[in-house]
Symmetry: C2
């Protein structure tokens, strides 16, 4: 069994990959304040609408967000409250000297 086909690590890699894009991270951050429609997210990230839609479908496939249709619009909602911990943890990795890193990296 190599690491490549171990489903345990494959699953985790897929989840990380679904987050590992500036626009997708920006969208996840925006969704922390509540659901947003695609047009809102499109304004926030500033890319083509079709590009935004594809990013969202990547994140939905990974289980990071869910979608719900309301009239013409489709609202996306964060499915992972834990995502803030991720960001806080990343922050402490990127800026290890900042004090708020302590609260997260206690191990």
């Amino acid at each position: 069994m190599t690491a490549l086909n171990d489903p345990h690590y494959k699953q985790r890699a897929d989840l990380l990959k679904a987050m590992a894009h500036p626009s997708r991270l920006r969208m996840l951050a925006a969704l922390e304040d509540g659901p947003l429609c695609v047009c809102d997210l499109q304004k926030i990230v500033g890319s083509d609408m079709s590009t935004v839609s594809k990013h969202l479908s990547v994140m939905r496939a990974a289980g990071l967000v869910s979608d719900q249709k309301r009239g013409l619009q489709v609202f996306y909602e964060l499915r992972v409250p834990c995502i803030m911990r991720f960001f806080a943890c990343m922050e402490s990795v990127l800026n290890p000297n900042e004090s708020d890193g302590e609260a997260v990296c206690t191990t």
Copy 2:
């Protein structure tokens, strides 16, 4: 300012990307128990030595690991104690019903 060229999100995306590969995750997990040389890691992930070396150089560039030469061997060491929090958080995302998720996702 679009999300694409926002250095804040670019930086985070790069860090996630450096982790988003099954072999690299496997190596990070192995390094939690202490430094390992490339040959050890090569046995663990089961890929070609050159492939492993390139994975390590990706993680080193991202600041996830550091390297130190001892004789013929090069030992890699985890630079991010926080990495366990990442994994615990991912675990709770992937398996939201398991009890150990509670300890991490309290927000």
